[in-house]
């Protein structure tokens, strides 16, 4: 911002004899916002900055004038006043009023940021050490997104690195593609440690917290590519898990969905259970999406969720019971396979366990095993409910 103003007089630019392109790399501003909340935050930031700069100039003009004028070498004699109730009250109240003036627009923007209702689509974002997984709730797409910068551009400790390209460290193999003009709701969680899904231009910076689903939203007006990174330290590759969001027109988006679907692995290998009902905090609208899904919207891989337990042969009552127990309790670990838990639908992981027989499985589930607490930590469950959930999971992995 400041440099922009500095650059305006051409003579100055000539005097500096610095190419504008080089100067442009000395960014001094927030990147251009691309989503309504980012736009509001941007305006708020500059509003507050101008107020701060104005106060700073007034206050420090007074101080430096005093430093110049009231110094002993200028012959100043020290006055001995040391209080003045009127002025002290004034400089307590005036800042208070200024602060209320700042809090008002900030409150409006905050409420807007937290209001993910009426979203056109939802993407579940799961963070891993060190990549992202995107799960398109309506389209039934699910894929990983990892850094695509070659290692030889990064590594310079033993030999000279390869030349770094334009989007060094901010490029991925599979970007998030979204249609322009749609309100996109993100359901953000993590598989291991806390990460942060951060794309500055979209005004989204939300921790992914293992075991919890948090939400955020954005809506992009102009087609384009927006880049960000993990914002919360998450281990040694923290610097190497970027985010790329590509906003495209509706028709291009439809084509992309079609193309991605063709690339998806066959249904059997991509189980459908999504830990949708992991304890979601502060997310009343999250239940809407979950409910929409249960109401039979297409889910990933095209394998209808109801098909799996049908193969199990458990009593009909147990089926529903098993699924709901799974969805509320077991999925926290078995949904994604944390802490060594066999993942839902993962045949290889379940086979040796199923081979031990149903009773052994029931026993582990009821009494706990390894990192798993008895009844998955939910002591309120009846033994039958736990057994039904085991049946449900075992059936899904056969």
């Amino acid at each position: 911002m400041f440099l922009k103003h500095l650059r305006a007089p051409r003579t100055l630019a000539l005097l500096l004899a610095a190419p504008a392109a080089a100067l442009a790399d000395y960014h001094v501003d927030i990147l251009p916002p691309a989503s309504p909340t980012a736009q509001d935050a941007y305006a708020l930031h500059w509003g507050v900055m101008y107020v701060c700069i104005a106060i700073f100039i007034v206050v420090f003009a007074a101080m430096f004038w005093s430093i110049y004028k009231h110094r002993r070498s200028m012959g100043a004699k020290a006055a001995q006043f040391h209080e003045n109730t009127t002025i002290e009250i004034i400089w307590t109240l005036v800042p208070l009023i200024v602060l209320v003036g700042m809090a008002w627009p900030a409150t409006k923007t905050m409420l807007e940021m937290k209001d993910a209702s009426g979203a056109d689509m939802a993407i579940k974002v799961t963070a891993y050490q060190w990549r992202w997984e995107y799960d398109y709730q309506q389209e039934g797409l699910r894929y990983y997104s990892s850094l695509s910068t070659p290692r030889d551009q990064i590594e310079e400790r033993e030999h000279k690195g390869a030349p770094k390209e334009e989007h060094y460290l901010l490029e991925v193999d599979n970007p998030v593609v979204v249609p322009v003009g749609k309100k996109v709701r993100l359901l953000i969680t993590s598989n291991d440690v806390i990460h942060g899904w951060y794309v500055p231009q979209l005004g989204v910076n939300q921790y992914g917290i293992p075991g919890f689903v948090k939400d955020a939203w954005f809506s992009i007006e102009k087609p384009g590519i927006y880049r960000g990174q993990c914002s919360q330290i998450c281990g040694k590759e923290h610097a190497y898990m970027p985010i790329v969001v590509e906003a495209v027109e509706a028709d291009k988006y439809a084509a992309w969905v079609k193309q991605q679907k063709a690339k998806m692995p066959p249904p059997a290998a991509t189980p459908t259970a999504v830990p949708q009902e992991a304890p979601a905090q502060g997310a009343a609208p999250a239940q809407q999406v979950a409910a929409a899904q249960q109401a039979g919207q297409p889910v990933a891989g095209g394998a209808p969720a109801a098909a799996a337990p049908a193969a199990g042969g458990a009593p009909a009552a147990g089926k529903a019971d098993g699924k709901s127990t799974f969805d509320t309790t077991c999925t926290v670990c078995h949904g994604t396979g944390v802490a060594g838990a066999p993942k839902f639908g993962d045949k290889a992981a379940w086979a040796p366990r199923i081979a031990q027989g149903k009773e052994a499985l029931y026993n582990s589930a009821l009494k706990g095993k390894g990192a798993m607490p008895p009844k998955g930590g939910n002591a309120a469950l009846s033994d039958d409910a736990v057994k039904a959930a085991v049946d449900y999971m075992a059936a899904a992995a056969k």
Binding site: R72, I209, Q229, A239
Partner: protein, 535 residues
Amino acid sequence: MSATHAHDHDHGHGHSTAHDHHGPPAGITRWLYTTNHKDIGTMYLWFSFFMFLTGGTMALLIRAELFKPGLQFLDPEFFNSLTTVHGLVMVFGAIMPAFVGFANWLIPMQVGAADMAFPRMNNWSFWLLIPAALLLMSSFFMPGGAAASGWTLYPPLIIQQGISVDMTILAIHILGASSIMGSINIITTILNMRAPGMTLMRMPMFVWTWLITAYLLIAVMPVLAGAVTMLLTDRHFGTSFFNAAGGGDPTMFLHIFWFFGHPEVYIMILPAFGIVSHIIPAFARKPLFGYASMVYATASIAILSFIVWGHHMFTVGMPAAGNLFFMYATILIAVPTGVKVFNWISTMWRGSMTFETPMLFAVGFICLFTIGGFSGLVLALAPVDITLHNTYYVVAHFHYVLVSGALFSIMGGIYFWLPKWTGHMYNEKLGKVHFWLSMIGFNVAFFPQHFLGLAGMPRRIPDYALQFAEWNAVSSIGAFIFGFSQLLFLYNIIECIRSGRTSTQKPWEGADSLEWTHLPTPVPYHTFETAPVIR
């Protein structure tokens, strides 16, 4: 408590603290067994200087790696360890012990007491620091390296790491015990050992700020101890405080940590306010403006500090009402903080100022701390914070309040009281060079980090995208200027102790607290055997 010692006020040269040769025993036992508040204060200050240089070296390694994009020197995991331990060392090893050192030296003298209330506990509080520092530093040599989760120690990341984390937790426990003992000592001394006539509202500002700080410490250090103990049991004893799979919640750690962490920020700045409130009137030759409002402002800041922790957590996904509450509480802090800045400037107004090194640091403090305050105000607004959370803007913000805030006040305070403590004047010219190099180096290092943060560069990364390269290079150059100029400071202190010219009793014309008006320079080993009467 010191009546059995001889009091001889004849001071020799050539000793590191120029204390009485006849009072304390000679050799190492003097320092091991000492119960003298001045000796203990000296040890605290040297300890913190040593830790400051250690933490500074880590910072320079970090800045060397960040000089340009790509990995040139450091393994990313080691880089993460450096950022983590740099933070822990600077907070718990450098800034806090330095202020405790000041408290030990000054509080008994400023309230007219003979020593601290619990001299033996005082000795113990200091000597606990050594094993804690050794544990923290030696964790670098453990398998897997030192803790690498950032100084905030968030689980589950911290749960993944090795034995070094357990060592760090133990070190934090020990440091916490030391701080709590120090605080009990300070509160007891201030409340019970004031000289006749030294009413609470006559106490020097430094004493007031430390009284409030000590209460903050007692309130929050046990909270931190609880948080890290839960980490320990989650790691080794099968609990699930912070593990969702067992019914816990990682977010709970963030709440507990920051319930400690935010008052901690004020623990590191309130004594700085106290020091600056001594330096400014001394060099303006004019009493502190608005003494009473200074006391009330300090107390308000301390109270507010308990209800603002959530502003570190705007991105964890609290409900809107939570974010709004913490935003309102946080911006309220700007009011008492503003009162303080206005008071300091009014103290300067129509004074008769001179600008020796302590005054330069104090004025530098006011300017730069205010910049840190403004960036704090920007970050307090939750929507803006969400845009800037965990970026370099935050790094710039807290270095403005902790380096050019807390650290500048410590440096100014050292120059200010060094003549009183040692009986010698420091080299004024060298002091001014040190100030200007620090001022320039600091701003070159940290001001561009605001720009990096605005452009979206996350903190705690060893490698970054190309658009961040220019400001990072500038920042690294500034950091090296700042870092190496501290060697001048060290040289100036040693030179002053060894061979500075003799100081008068009151080298600063406007200084008016008891240590200047009632005690000879250098101060004798034992002071105020008979309490002075304050009118």
